[in-house]
Homo-oligomer: 416 residues x 2
């Protein structure tokens, strides 16, 4: 089965909105084994929207539209689908009653323009949208299907999970799909590609390799007539990947660097204190995105390299422009003691002037003080862009998880 996405909305073509819905849906389609062949953005323009839907209906098994289901005269997705199908839109009494009651429950009178959100064409079924006022349309005819979905991301994800995803899977009831993602770190895409090259020839399971913020991901997708069979197809591939590249794998499926670090800490009932230079608070705020972090992160300080470090921690960098691995250890121990946590994690500011001990310009030293030991790592970040700092956060969190899991280390390693 192949699919096509049409993202509707002039705002998508004016640059003020990034279309994240299409990548979300692309990812979900891949997971259920549907091949996305086209994704088009089109403005709120009747002729062009109808042209896009007509073309998609002709060349693709499944067409998913997002947006254009609102109440205004600019919202033209329903009208365009009706035109392509050659059918008339009719107000549905039950939909209208539901829509009216939604407005009433918010204490608002329904504007007349919203009535078109209660229409259907004869070939369409309604797709409920408990997250918003615009129900979707499901059109199935002549071996083709259209799912018309609203634009807001949280409405899309809810509607996909509960309605559109299951409907698409049921179009292929004899096929079960199982996916498995293995997440690696500290190894290049090229290196992994070479190590695993025979596996990339496999068609089922199919293996994809993706470069992400938190390292290189490997995703296997298997299809079979039952989930058990699909699972059985994936297992030998997963074993082989783990045999060849297991040393670089830090997590799977929904694992994140934050969950890896927090699980390693909470599993040992440890609290954490952080002193961060290069990442300037991003490491702490990334950890605190997880609600479980607030009981684990005992405290955190941003190291600016100035006098404030000494005022807060009773220690500071000897030379703020040229921090050394020793400074990281020192800070990790000081922040742990000051805050009274079990583990101290410190990252120095970037080296801006190279000295004998500092490493080259762009280096940061990270230290993890745990029990009686201090592990030190050094990383090289030649530019200061935001994504580079996010990458340093990832690396620090994964090093922390690894240190606690294995206790290995004590020597310096290089990553960047």
């Amino acid at each position: 089965m192949n699919a096509e996405i049409i993202a509707v909305g002039t705002e998508l073509l004016m640059g003020e909105t990034v279309d994240t819905n299409s990548s979300y849906l692309a990812d979900e389609l891949a997971k259920i084994g549907v091949e996305l062949q086209w994704a088009t953005k089109v403005g709120d323009h009747p002729g062009r929207l109808e042209e896009a839907i007509e073309r998609a209906w002709r060349r693709s098994d499944i067409t998913i539209t997002t947006g254009g289901l609102g109440p205004t005269s600019d919202d033209l997705t329903r009208e365009s689908i009706a035109a392509v199908m050659g059918e008339e839109m009719e107000v549905q009494k039950d939909l209208l009653a539901h829509l009216t009651s939604q407005f009433e429950s918010r204490g608002v009178k329904m504007p007349a323009t919203n009535i078109k959100q209660a229409t259907l064409i004869p070939s369409a079924e309604v797709i409920p949208n408990p997250m918003g006022t615009a129900p979707g349309w499901w059109v199935e005819k002549d071996g083709h299907a259209i799912a018309a979905m609203p634009g807001p991301p949280r409405e899309i994800t809810h509607m996909w999970d509960n309605q559109v995803g299951p409907r698409l899977r049921s179009l292929n009831p004899e096929i079960a799909i199982v996916t498995r993602t293995l997440k690696t770190f500290g190894i290049t895409e090229g290196g992994l590609d070479e190590m695993l090259s025979p596996l990339f020839q496999s068609e089922n399971p199919n293996l994809g390799i993706y470069s992400k913020q938190d390292g290189i991901h490997l995703r296997a997708i298997a299809s079979a007539s039952t989930e058990t069979e699909a699972q059985a197809l994936i297992e030998p591939m997963e074993r082989e990947i783990r045999r060849v590249a297991g040393h670089a794998i830090w997590g799977e499926d929904d694992d994140t660097p934050v969950s890896a670090a927090l699980d390693a800490l909470s599993g040992r009932d440890l609290t954490l204190a952080v002193a961060e230079g290069f990442t300037g608070g991003l490491l702490s705020s990334t950890l605190l995105e997880s609600s479980s972090a607030s009981s684990i992160l005992a405290g955190s300080i941003v190291i600016t390299g100035g006098d404030s470090d000494r005022l807060i921690l009773d220690t500071s960098l000897d030379n703020p422009d040229s921090p050394r691995p020793y400074d990281a250890s020192n800070l990790a121990l000081a922040v742990r003691d000051k805050i009274g946590a079990d583990v101290g994690l410190a990252m120095t500011p970037l080296v801006s002037e190279e000295t004998e001990d500092s490493g080259p310009v762009g280096t940061t030293h990270i230290a993890i003080a745990s029990g009686g030991e201090v592990f030190v790592r050094s990383g090289h970040y030649p530019t200061r862009r935001l994504r580079i700092r996010a990458r340093a956060v990832t690396h620090a969190l994964l090093e922390l998880a690894k240190c606690l899991e294995t206790g290995a280390g004590g020597h310096e390693s290089r990553w960047g």
Copy 2:
């Protein structure tokens, strides 16, 4: 003039890469008065890519492709353009010499497959790409143009600024475009829309309204035969916007909340100390994205609501689940004194248990201690999602800038 974007790459259709290039280009095209009518993603599939380019060439004045210019057999943009033009690709000696020397300067031998990056068709000119190995193509024929650009965002932005943008502008030499963005804060899109509704009827200058992370932006675009004339068209509209909504405008064009806060501090030669609860380090790291922040931000502490606050600051929240405005003042003064900065900025953790003084669940209190005064604001953030925290950072930075600029306040206000 109208335009079409074709983003090339199977990875865009597998969901592992969000296509940010198209929104960047959409924004840039709007700024030079080119109407983007279509944006399509297509995989590395020769038939479909050629079909997309052929259709774009036929229906659009300008076609911009991104991606598919790499050296591998999957990179098919050049081949597809050549097929649509009915022309043969030929190796260009000067391009080949340049490419070879690029590899040599990195101490690497050029792989044979890269040779196709040194080809052109007779209708194409080369677009230099100093940020990468893949030069672009510029094809101009029969009143249509194609700009074939590489995929990596930093190569795209450089090539747009230096080559493709100027070339497109020169296609319409008689038209000068001037844009003006005014950035507001603390006012809804609907409210602004109503206040300014007569202005939205204007065609030249055209006024757009965009909801962004840092508030609602208003963007006016004027076109005329000279820049002076375009400027003269925009001025009355800008004056009217400022007259009606000036109280809500905090910046213009390239201003950011970070630049507003840092400019307000550095203009008065003031240093800053931060204690942040709800935002957990994101405020500091956002400030430090600007290289000028490191001499202004004297130090920063993450408030976790636990005992560590007292250990570091010699003060802490009386009740960490129910912080009050008073706690924010207290923290702002304490962090300023502890770090020895001129201004203290504190944000409490979110209220998780409502008490008489705390405000409702989801409230954060922010205090700015400057000179002999402490300004307090309260904001309401009912969910804990990342974007909500980024919004709280924005608000805190804009409040800081406003406090320093006007000295106004002292009473509580509500934003969320």
